[in-house]
């Protein structure tokens, strides 16, 4: 297992190098000069040349690439073309905001998705099953931005129960530690902020979690149905175990492998793909950060940001692979 883990980690190196080349070249192949992006309608030829020079864009492409990689290895993601600020610390705070949202969304998705799936498998072909799967179908086909706007309209504007945007009330002064506000407020024992942070989390997390919830529900259902037909489940029932025990312990454990794959993939997607949700709920996450960078054509941020997101995606896949072995000991890796 350890050898396998190390081997998998080593395999990441060429993947990461490949990704860095791809992001670097895509950005440089795009039309339009980054120097012009900084200057906009007000650019004179001379000014553009000057800005290009100060950005290092006048050097040959391969020199630019090696400069970039050299810095990257020291943990330096470069500086924003537009603001001149260092990207790494800024990226970190945005990333933590996305983590918080993605974790909350995933918790909702897994809790409701798995239970909905179990429920419909348990009562297969009953009205319970049909309505659960109907919910899943609606969930998977509903556009996130529409759901988000409807949530805002109903819960914030009409009912006034929950705030429509951002992570905390704007008046709240709060010094984050980890950047996960829920965790930070528990650490500091600031219960008012905890409540505020959770209230702000609910709407975006539900919007973001709906699609994975639906996918997980469908996956759980089909996986459960398959396992429920196996002999050992019949034996478990025959032994007189309670239905709850049979389903949540015996069936779910074996049915969970495919579900876990979906959970892993969806988590990766949520981390990078929360742009719409983050934009609608003005959640200052990595998707928003990249979206803003793209609209202002801050190539340095786009390049480094995409690389970071891609790396996280790869890492999550790795973790999921490793988790398989823990859940199902029949899965063995390597030559042991």
């Amino acid at each position: 297992m350890i050898a396998y883990t190390i081997r998998r980690l080593l395999m990441l190196i060429p993947v990461l190098i490949g990704m860095s080349i791809i992001t670097f070249s895509i950005i440089h192949a795009l039309p339009g000069d980054p120097a012009r992006a900084v200057l906009g309608e007000r650019a004179s030829a001379e000014q553009i040349a000057e800005v290009r020079e100060s950005m290092g864009l006048d050097k040959p492409i391969y020199v630019q690439y090696f400069n970039y990689i050299g810095k990257l290895l020291q943990g330096d993601l470069g500086r924003s073309y537009i603001t001149g600020r260092e990207i790494a610390p800024e990226l970190f705070t945005y990333l933590m905001a996305t983590f918080e949202l993605a974790i909350a969304a995933m918790l909702i998705a897994v809790f409701f998705g798995v239970n909905l799936g179990i429920l419909s498998a348990w009562r297969q072909n009953s009205w319970v099953d049909y309505s659960a799967m109907m919910i899943a179908l609606i969930g998977v086909s509903m556009p996130v931005f529409w759901l988000g706007l409807m949530e805002q309209w109903l819960f914030a504007q009409e009912l006034g129960w929950l705030p429509s945007s951002s992570r905390l009330d704007a008046r709240t002064m709060f010094e984050p530690i980890t950047g996960l506000y829920v965790i930070d407020s528990i650490i500091t024992g600031n219960w008012a902020v905890l409540g505020d942070a959770i209230r702000h989390l609910i709407l975006p997390a539900v919007a973001l979690g709906t699609i994975p919830m639906a996918i997980i529900a469908r996956m759980t259902r089909s996986s459960m149905l398959e396992v429920m037909r196996s002999d050992y489940i019949r034996t478990a029932r025959a032994k007189g175990l309670s239905e709850f025990w049979v389903i949540y312990k015996h069936t779910l454990k074996n049915a969970f492998i495919p579900v876990l794959t979906v959970v892993g993939l969806q988590t990766g997607i949520l981390l990078g793909g929360a742009v719409l949700t983050e934009t609608i709920f003005s959640w200052p996450g990595i998707g928003r950060y990249l979206y803003d960078a793209i609209t202002s054509r801050d190539y340095q941020i786009i390049q480094s940001g995409i690389l970071v997101v891609a790396t996280i995606f790869v890492l999550i896949n790795l973790i999921v692979d490793l988790l398989y072995a823990m859940i199902d000991p029949r899965i063995k890796y390597g030559r042991e």
Partner: protein
């Protein structure tokens, strides 16, 4: 436990949780409750809070409240009034300017504002070898004052402190818009001590003399300013603080305003304007126009080198209809290149009437009785001066069709579009401009003078009129507004007659606020200092 029971248990748990959260809702908002804080919603976060490095509107809105300039614009016009300088005088030749500063003003860090501080700021901006000439490109300094120290066109020769509260500027040549430039929020005076500490990080820890002090910046989320208790203008500011929140989506921002999470916002969808007008809890402001959206004919290419053709196309456009369709209430038809909120606007100029029949006749006179076809370039992205370039191009296309002229709509990615139009690759192209300093020179010279028709050009009509050039240069070298004004009035007549453009519209961007927000006056330049705003209880 049976499965059914476990389900009931989980549902109960969810309900208890919601109750808990609802309960939190009551008490969770209390932080800062008793204070008058204005929360402003806008589309994007600021990029930098060092005003001299700012090129985006979202940054200047914030720094305008932290920093002050030597002179400033009046609350409701682009005329100049005293700021950090209480008086000033110019020499006869317009090359020596002396400013007498307010006394007893302090920066937010407690250091003194004085002549040395002013000199320090200008030297940091103009001298590329200055140790603190760092943190960005100083784009606006370069743009407004003709480059940096040592450059050929540089306006400011020297800045000297004559005594503790007197500063003297020596100019290389007189500059008409000199005072208007100094009033731009980009030229806010920063605390030298704070800049020296770290000129790059200054953009995240701004220190000025303004009515509000910088408190906190949550990136991507909000910027908090608090009242400057020691502000030198008695009794101001009226608010205890300002919070600038970024909410990128226009609809979501409007929802936040209606649900009371923010007090004031810009960037309203055209369709939502009606809803605001019918809601008595909200009030709609229209920012005075400071933009021009236009269609430029490339006068270096046939048939647009023919004045009659350009005039005919001007007559073919139903401008009223166009503005109504695409700007709604949030724009007005344009007859001059400069917006009516600027001094020097010529209201006597008569626009070409909308008359397709006459346009056809004129085309025939010009030698095109059967019309012609050309490429009409349209911007790919919404800009502040034009909400939807492609749709507007389609509208124009339909208008031109009626006089037998066929327009093929062409578009490129935005940066490529700018590059190609600057190099004159287009036949006719849509573009626009947002004013900087409320001076007519900033529109007419930049966009239509022959000096700026050299590639890469900002004058993308490649309109080269010596008559206009002489007027504009003469106006640039005068420093008295009253002497300059008639020159600009004349300039607008010449431009109308030559028709290098179809002037389409001046956008009036909307600002919406709760009805309880009082004393707010939107300024044409796009940002304002909010010391006179208060919230009615």
């Amino acid at each position: 436990m049976s499965l059914r029971k476990s389900w009931i248990a989980s549902i109960a748990l969810v309900m208890v949780l919601s109750l808990f959260l609802a309960a939190c809702g009551g008490g969770g908002d209390s932080a800062g409750g008793g204070e008058d804080i204005l929360i402003i919603g806008r589309g994007a976060d600021s990029k930098s809070l060092d005003p001299i490095q700012v090129t985006d509107g979202e940054s200047i809105k914030v720094t305008h409240n932290i920093f002050e300039t030597l002179v400033k614009f009046k609350e409701d016009s682009t005329e100049i009034e005293p700021g950090l300088a209480k008086e000033w005088e110019a020499s006869e030749d317009g090359k020596t300017w002396t400013f007498y500063l307010q006394e007893g003003v302090k920066f937010h860090d407690g250091t003194d504002f004085n002549a040395d501080a002013v000199v320090y700021n200008f030297e940091r901006w103009m001298d590329k070898d200055h140790p603190e000439h760092k943190g960005g490109e100083f784009i606006y300094y370069k743009g407004m004052f003709g480059g940096f120290k040592g450059d050929k066109g540089h306006v400011i020769k020297s800045v000297k402190a004559l005594d503790e509260y007197t500063v003297q500027f020596e100019l290389n040549y007189p500059q008409g818009p000199f005072l208007a430039n100094l009033a731009m929020a980009m030229f806010g005076i920063a605390s030298p001590e704070a800049v020296k500490k770290d000129p790059v990080a200054f953009n995240e820890n701004p220190v000025g003399t303004g009515p509000f002090k910088f408190k906190e910046w949550k990136k991507g989320e909000s910027i908090t300013l608090v009242k400057n208790e020691n502000y030198w203008r008695e009794g101001l500011p009226k608010l205890d603080g300002l919070i600038f929140r970024s909410i990128p989506d226009n609809s979501a921002r409007f929802t936040a305003l209606q649900s009371g999470e923010i007090d004031l916002m810009d960037g309203l969808n055209t369709d939502d304007a009606k809803q605001v007008e019918s809601n008595k809890d909200l009030q709609l402001f229209k920012r005075p126009p400071n933009t021009i959206g236009y269609l430029a004919f490339n006068m270096e290419k046939e048939p647009f080198n023919n004045k009659k053709v350009r005039q005919a196309l001007n007559m073919a456009v139903n401008k009223e209809g166009l503005v109504k369709t695409f700007f709604g209430d949030l724009g007005e038809p344009a007859k001059n290149p400069i917006p009516p909120s600027l001094w020097g606007y010529n209201d006597e100029v008569k626009d070409y009437e909308y008359n397709p029949e006459k346009a056809k006749e004129l085309l025939a006179e010009a030698g095109y009785p059967d019309g012609f076809s050309f490429d009409l370039w349209a911007m790919p992205e919404p800009r502040p001066y034009m909400p939807d370039g492609k749709k507007i191009a389609e509208y124009l296309q339909a208008n031109f069709e009626k006089i037998g002229v066929k327009a093929n709509i062409v578009s490129y990615e935005w940066l490529t579009y700018l590059e190609k139009t600057e190099n004159g690759e287009h036949e006719a192209a849509l573009l626009g401009w947002t004013g900087d300093n409320g001076d007519p020179d900033n529109f007419l010279y930049v966009l239509l003078d022959k000096d700026n028709a050299k590639k890469p050009a900002q004058n993308i009509a490649f309109y080269k009129s010596d008559e206009l050039h002489d007027l504009l240069i003469k106006a640039q070298r005068l420093s008295d507004q009253e002497e300059r004004e008639p020159l600009y009035l004349k300039a607008q007549e010449i431009i109308k007659e030559d028709a290098p453009w179809i002037t389409l519209a001046h956008a009036t961007p909307p600002v919406v606020a709760k009805a309880s927000v009082k004393g707010y006056v939107p300024h044409a330049t796009g940002s304002e200092s909010l010391e006179n705003v208060w919230i009615e209880k």
